[in-house]
């Protein structure tokens, strides 16, 4: 009992700390998001939020389920490794609702050019042409079928 003779100020000090501690815990409970620390030093829900972004490119498997005729042609040709949307652009909306979302027409002058225009930095074994010399301005699809472009039996006229 003697030790606690003049202990009033100690208790006061302790209660200040106590109130401060409680305040800290309460504020912390409110301010720190519930999922913080779920997986590490970050908000766990941020991982789920990153996964909720909508998709624009449906993926070639989806296109192929409806356009089996194109797949039939394409899978036998040299473009078999080229995905539909690499040429046709993002078409997830079209895949969801083909009747109301029509894919845009493609400009082969731009499209084929990007992949096939001769460039020193391209791998040597990749088929390249200097389009000005090769087609003389004629659209690529007058001679090549986009989905199966190799010209096997050379048609009369072109050599």
């Amino acid at each position: 009992m003697k030790i606690f003779k003049d202990a009033g100020h100690l208790f006061r000090l302790a209660s200040v700390f106590l109130v401060g501690g409680v305040l800290f815990l309460v504020l912390r409970g409110f301010l720190v998001p519930s999922s913080f620390g779920q997986y590490g030093h970050y908000r766990g829900n941020a991982v789920k939020e990153a996964a909720t972004q909508p998709i624009s490119y449906a993926g070639h498997q989806v296109c192929e389920s409806c356009h089996a005729d194109i797949l039939e042609v394409k899978s036998k040709g040299v473009h078999k490794g080229v995905a539909c949307e690499a040429c046709h652009g993002p078409l997830a909306k079209h895949a969801d609702d083909p009747a109301s979302v029509q894919p845009a027409k493609l400009d082969t002058a731009v499209l084929c050019f990007r992949c096939h225009e001769a460039n020193l930095a391209k791998p040597k074994n990749f088929p390249q042409v200097v389009s000005a010399e090769h087609s003389g301005g004629a659209p690529c699809e007058t001679c090549h079928q986009p989905h199966s472009p190799a010209i096997v039996a050379v048609a009369g006229g072109s050599q």
């Binding site: 997986y39 908000r43 990153a50 624009s56 490119y57 490794g81 020193l120 930095a121 391209k122 791998p123």
Partner: protein
């Protein structure tokens, strides 16, 4: 008086724990995707890249990347055999619309696709003052868009220059490895649209992923290995001049 305070002190931590668990709610279960079963990375085969920019366009469309900013881009290298130390690099509009004909006729010329390396020990996540960027349990470096302050520390910290601050949102943006796609079993937009298979998404935890066969039989390299960032963007056919 003494007793109640002691009781209170004992009760407080317990109460705090209980309060936290109330706030946390029940953890959501995501359908069919288990984060602990994956460890994502990517393989880039330089010898196959034709510089068509399909990946850059696909990334911008898929992720609504603002014009003039890139989450992935393609660089064209010209390395003269007389000056190997100083390669000439260009990347017009990130290589989005392909590349104009080369102005060189000598030396070595090739394309290098670049993007976030999804480092396992990433410098960018270490500098974030608020815990807004992190390596997810499946190995993808992500940014918490709600928490990011836009302080740009991470932009400076990334040794590969893969981050930027969105001019409208004022938050840090970067490649998410199409997290919204890979968690649904799709590949990334850039890999989906690569015509030659120069880019391939890789799940390093899946023993059946073709990446394992490739890594066993090919000499691969990562960018800036001396930084020990444990990058998971593996390059095949990478020239020593690439920075």
């Amino acid at each position: 008086m003494n007793m109640t305070r002691r009781q209170l002190l004992i009760l407080l931590p317990a109460a705090a724990v209980a309060w936290k668990s109330i706030l946390a709610g029940t953890p959501e279960t995501s359908p069919n995707y288990n984060m602990t079963e994956h460890w994502w990375g990517m393989l880039v085969d330089i010898t196959k890249c034709i510089g068509c920019g399909s990946c850059v366009r696909a990334c911008q469309m898929e992720n609504q990347v603002p014009d003039g900013y890139f989450r992935t881009w393609v660089e064209r290298y010209h390395v003269s055999d007389f000056d190997i130390e100083n390669p000439k690099v260009d990347s017009p509009d990130g290589g989005k619309n392909g590349f104009p004909p080369s102005s060189f006729s000598d030396g070595k010329n090739f394309f290098v696709p670049k993007m976030c390396n999804h480092c396992a020990d990433s410098p960018c996540t270490q500098v974030c003052p608020v815990g807004a960027t992190f390596v997810s349990p499946d190995g993808v470096v992500l940014v918490d868009q709600k928490y990011c302050l836009g302080c740009r520390y991470c932009v400076q910290a990334c040794p590969y220059g893969c981050r930027f601050v969105d001019p409208k949102k004022e938050t840090a943006q970067k490649c998410t490895l199409c997290y919204h796609r890979i968690t649904k079993g799709l590949t990334t937009a850039c890999c989906e649209n690569c015509p030659t298979g120069a880019r391939q998404l890789a799940d390093l935890k899946n023993p059946n992923d073709p990446i394992h066969e490739f890594l066993k039989t090919h000499a691969v390299q990562v960018l800036k290995p001396y930084l020990a960032t444990r990058s998971k963007l593996f390059y095949y056919g990478l020239d020593g001049s690439v920075r």
